[in-house]
Structure formats: structure tokens, C-alpha cells
């Protein structure tokens, strides 16, 4: 990845779109301090992420959906309480987070016994329990049925509007991004566009050239020599 630079303002609902292999997950992993080997800088709440990982305490993270094994013994309450590591356990906050994602009837169930959509809501509750200022979601609805997806989108909207949580969310669902996000970033190893959602989705010419850009990037990737394969990422 190269030449990626954008800012996220407080209260933004930023949708990040890009084809498979565009680098969305890599970008998030750099933003979250999981990948540290990159050039440039990523400032989170005013501090460079690699210099000050304490700022991650203000971030909730929902990774790409992975199914939890049915035998994993932790209950929903136990998983949500893991979001409070480093803080004093607050049972009421745990209950409220579970209630917010409408899983209060499942608190004592094993997470592995829930459906995939419900498991993803547990992970959101875990992210919410620490009262984050920023929520980062990496394609959270991939593989989830459309009815559950809609419920999930309503939840994100509620978090952004009611709780004023800044959301950065990657998705393949362009319609959902158009409906929910106030800002959009289109990436495909480079940043093609970052700005108001309406400026992108309301501009047919821009959308057409994005498709061409994405196709061109993929052609370049397929014909790239191994020496060109540097893994640079710049963001400010």
C-alpha cells in the first residue's frame, strides 16, 4: 500500500470501500498497532500509534467475522467483560452493553452456541463496554444473512447518532455505505477518494473512474515483479 492519507473527525461515520485485496484489513491493523512495520505515521487522538498504544483504550475493534467453536467455554457475559481488561469490572456496564445489542436473554449462553450474527453482536458489546470514542469495524457483516445485516446496520446508526461514537467501517456493501456513512474513503492499495459520501455516490463519473482505477490496480498487482512488492503505508 502506498500514498494513503486522510483524517477522521469526531462523530464521523466513515465507510471504507475497496475490492478484496485492496488493503482494508492491513490499513486497520496498522491503525490498531497490530502491524507496526510501515513508513509514515498514523495519529490516533493526537499521538502516533506506535509511540503511544494507550490511546487504544479509547478504541473498540470488531474484526472480520470468524466463527467461534461451539465448545469454546466462555459465556456471552465473560466475553463482554474481556472488553474491560485494565479497568475495574463494572457489572452494570456489562449488562448495559449486552442489552444494547439486544442479547440480554443470552448472557449466560456460551458464545459458540449463538448464531454468527449474534456472535458478531457479542463482539460489538465487548467493544462498547469500555465506552470507546472510536469504533473500528472490519467487514463485520460478511457472510451474515441480509435480515441480520439490516439489524446490524441499525445498531451502528444508533451508536453513531445516540452515543456519538466515531465509526470507521469497511464494507463491500456499497448500498449500506451510501445509506449510513457521512464520509467515504475508496482504497485499492492507494487512496482514490476521501470525502463526503454524497460527493462520491452522487457523482456517476467519479464512481465510474473508481471502478476503472480498481481494475487497473488489480492488473498492476498481477504483473508486478517481486521487487516491487513493498508494503508501504502512509497515513496522517
Amino acid at each position: 500500500m502506498d500514498d494513503i492519507s486522510f483524517t477522521v473527525d469526531k462523530g464521523d461515520f466513515l465507510g471504507i470501500i475497496g475490492p478484496n485485496g485492496a488493503g482494508k484489513t492491513t490499513l486497520f491493523q496498522c491503525m490498531l498497532g497490530i502491524i507496526n512495520d510501515f513508513r509514515g505515521e498514523i495519529n490516533l487522538f493526537g499521538s502516533e500509534i506506535r509511540q503511544n498504544k494507550k490511546t487504544l483504550q479509547r478504541v473498540g475493534y470488531v474484526p472480520q467475522k470468524k466463527s467461534v467453536e461451539q465448545t469454546f467455554p466462555a459465556t456471552v457475559k465473560e466475553i463482554v467483560s474481556l472488553g474491560m481488561i485494565g479497568k475495574k469490572i463494572n457489572k452494570e456496564a456489562i449488562y448495559n452493553a449486552i442489552k444494547f445489542v439486544e442479547l440480554d436473554a443470552y448472557g449466560d449462553k456460551r458464545i459458540g452456541e449463538l448464531s454468527e450474527g449474534q456472535q458478531q453482536r457479542v463482539i460489538i458489546a465487548k467493544a462498547l463496554v469500555k465506552d470507546p470514542d472510536l469504533l473500528i469495524l472490519d467487514e463485520p457483516t460478511t457472510g451474515i444473512d441480509s435480515a441480520t445485516q439490516e439489524k446490524f446496520y441499525d445498531l451502528l446508526k444508533k451508536l453513531n447518532k445516540d452515543k456519538r461514537i466515531t465509526i470507521v467501517w469497511s464494507s463491500h456493501d456499497m448500498n449500506a455505505v451510501e445509506r449510513l456513512a457521512n464520509k467515504v474513503a475508496c482504497i485499492d492499495r492507494k487512496l482514490f477518494f476521501h470525502g463526503e459520501s454524497g460527493d462520491f455516490f452522487g457523482n456517476d463519473e467519479r464512481m465510474k473512474s473508481y471502478v476503472e482505477f480498481a481494475m487497473q490496480s488489480h492488473m498492476n498487482l498481477h504483473f508486478r515483479t517481486p521487487d516491487d512488492g513493498n508494503n508501504n503505508l502512509e497515513k496522517s
Binding site: 470468524k66 465448545t71 467455554p73 466462555a74 465473560e78 474481556l82 449466560d108 449462553k109 456460551r110
Partner: protein, 278 residues
């Protein structure tokens, strides 16, 4: 029956050691099983065998060389797993075979040792000394509080390492600490079931408990209970029937595991029948 044999000093030492070992093996084992490192205990035990052989070969108290070799190997293999693309099961296989190979070579060039290799390979809890009991209790006194302190962090790392990093945890450091705890647990446990059966203590009570427990704490308690019942009855039955204690304990664990599977399947079938009738 139990009250008769408990009068003997060797039996008291055996029961105290066995209960103490079964508790820490269940606790450490649950995390190993959930991380899909079930055979890590087996591999560490084989490395410990190499460490014991090294100690005997160079004339140092074998337990100390066993601790050093096992901890260094465990940390080394963990680093190997993290820094390369070698699958976890393959790195465990490397650890297992290298430990055994070193042990065999050392035994071979020294022309055999005077110690009973049979008890290292298969364990003999009835032969534990007072010093052994003290070492086992000290191991418990280290492992249980440290796991308690890092309990939530270990669950999160087991659940999802990336989420643990985002939560600000030093995952590499905590994993290394856990591997060291696992190493000292395995070394303490060799007295009970020996190098060849060690993974039974790590795996069987935990996979049985995973079928029954709801919640992490409950699963740990059930696993400890299964393990304690198995080792206590294993020792008593083996004493009266003149059987090998380690094999008897493991067979009791396997019996509990099989009974649990059958009971779970019967419950499932019964529920299905009731639903169909209604």
C-alpha cells in the same frame, strides 16, 4: 478402603502430589487445548526427558537441567512459531522428536544410567519423596496465582490474539510467561504419569469438561474435579489390584470421557424424540 491405605506415608505423599498436579494440569491444559496446542505438553515432556538425560550425563541434579532445557525449548519453539510460517503442530513435532533424540543419544553414549528410566517414561507416583512433594506444591503455589492474575488476559489471548493486542496487552510477553508456566507444570507432572502419558492429564479432563461446562470458571472446576477423581481412584485401585498407577489413572479419565459422550448423545436423542412427539 481409602482410610486404610492413607495411613502409609508413601500413600499420603502420592495423594497430595497427585491432587496438586491434577489441578495445575487442568488449569494450564484448558488454555493449551483451546489454543489447539494439546500436544505441546507431550512435546515438553519429551524435551524434559532429554533434559533429565543431560543432567545425569553431566552429573548435575537432573531436575534443574530438565527445567532449564524445557523452558528454553518451549520459549524457543514459541518464537519459532511466531516468527516463521511453520504450523504450530509441526513446530511441536520438532520439539518432541528433538528432546527424545537428545535423550536417546545421551543414554546411548553413557552406556545407560542407573536411574529407573521406566519411571521417567511411565511415572510412578508411589515413589515420590518429601522433596518431590515440596517441589510439586511450590509449582502449584507459582502456577495457580499467576494464572489467576492473568486469567482474563489469557482468555482474551486464547479467544483472539489480535483483539488482545488492540486491548493494549503485550501478547508476546504473556504468551512467553504462559509457556514457562506450562513447562514447569509438565516437569512437576512427570512423576505422576511419566513422559509418555503426560498429554492425558492435559487433554482428557479438559475435553470432557468442555462438553459439560458453561463458562470458563465452571469448565476449569469440572476439569479439576474429573482429574482429581481419576488420580485418587487410580492410585487406590492400582494399589489394591497391583496395577501401574499411571495407566490406571488414564484409563479412569478415558472412562469418564466415554461415559460423558454416551450420556450427551443419549440426552440429545431423548430431546429429539420428545420434540418429534410434541
Amino acid at each position: 478402603m481409602l482410610f486404610d491405605i492413607i495411613q502409609y506415608g508413601f500413600m499420603q505423599r502420592a495423594l497430595i502430589s497427585a491432587i496438586a498436579i491434577s489441578i495445575i494440569c487442568s488449569i494450564v491444559g484448558l488454555f493449551l487445548v483451546l489454543k489447539r496446542h494439546s500436544l505441546f505438553g507431550d512435546a515438553l515432556a519429551h524435551v524434559t526427558f532429554g533434559g533429565i538425560a543431560l543432567g545425569l550425563f553431566i552429573g548435575v541434579y537432573p531436575l534443574w537441567t530438565a527445567y532449564i532445557v524445557a523452558i528454553l525449548s518451549a520459549v524457543g519453539v514459541n518464537k519459532l512459531r511466531e516468527s516463521t510460517k511453520i504450523p504450530p503442530d509441526s513446530s511441536i513435532a520438532v520439539l518432541l522428536t528433538s528432546g527424545l533424540a537428545i535423550g536417546i543419544i545421551l543414554i546411548n553414549i553413557s552406556g545407560g544410567f542407573t536411574v529407573n528410566l521406566f519411571s521417567i517414561l511411565f511415572g510412578n507416583i508411589l515413589l515420590v519423596s518429601n522433596d518431590d512433594v515440596i517441589i510439586i506444591l511450590i509449582t502449584d503455589a507459582i502456577v495457580i496465582p499467576v494464572i489467576y492474575l492473568f486469567y482474563k488476559k489469557l482468555i482474551l489471548i486464547t479467544f483472539d490474539e489480535k483483539q488482545a493486542i488492540v486491548s493494549g496487552l503485550n501478547v508476546t510477553w504473556i504468551n512467553t510467561l504462559f509457556i514457562i508456566l506450562a513447562s514447569i507444570t509438565i516437569i512437576a507432572s512427570i512423576r505422576l504419569v511419566g513422559v509418555l502419558l503426560i498429554s492425558s492429564l492435559i487433554v482428557i479432563p479438559n475435553i470432557t469438561a468442555l462438553m459439560l461446562g458453561k463458562g470458563f470458571k465452571k469448565t476449569i472446576f469440572i476439569s479439576c474435579a474429573i482429574s482429581i477423581i481419576s488420580v485418587v481412584f487410580g492410585i487406590v485401585i492400582s494399589y489394591y489390584l497391583d496395577l501401574a498407577p499411571s495407566g490406571t489413572m488414564v484409563l479412569i479419565m478415558i472412562s469418564i470421557f466415554l461415559v460423558t459422550i454416551i450420556a450427551k448423545n443419549m440426552k440429545f436423542t431423548l430431546n429429539k424424540v420428545l420434540v418429534t412427539k410434541n
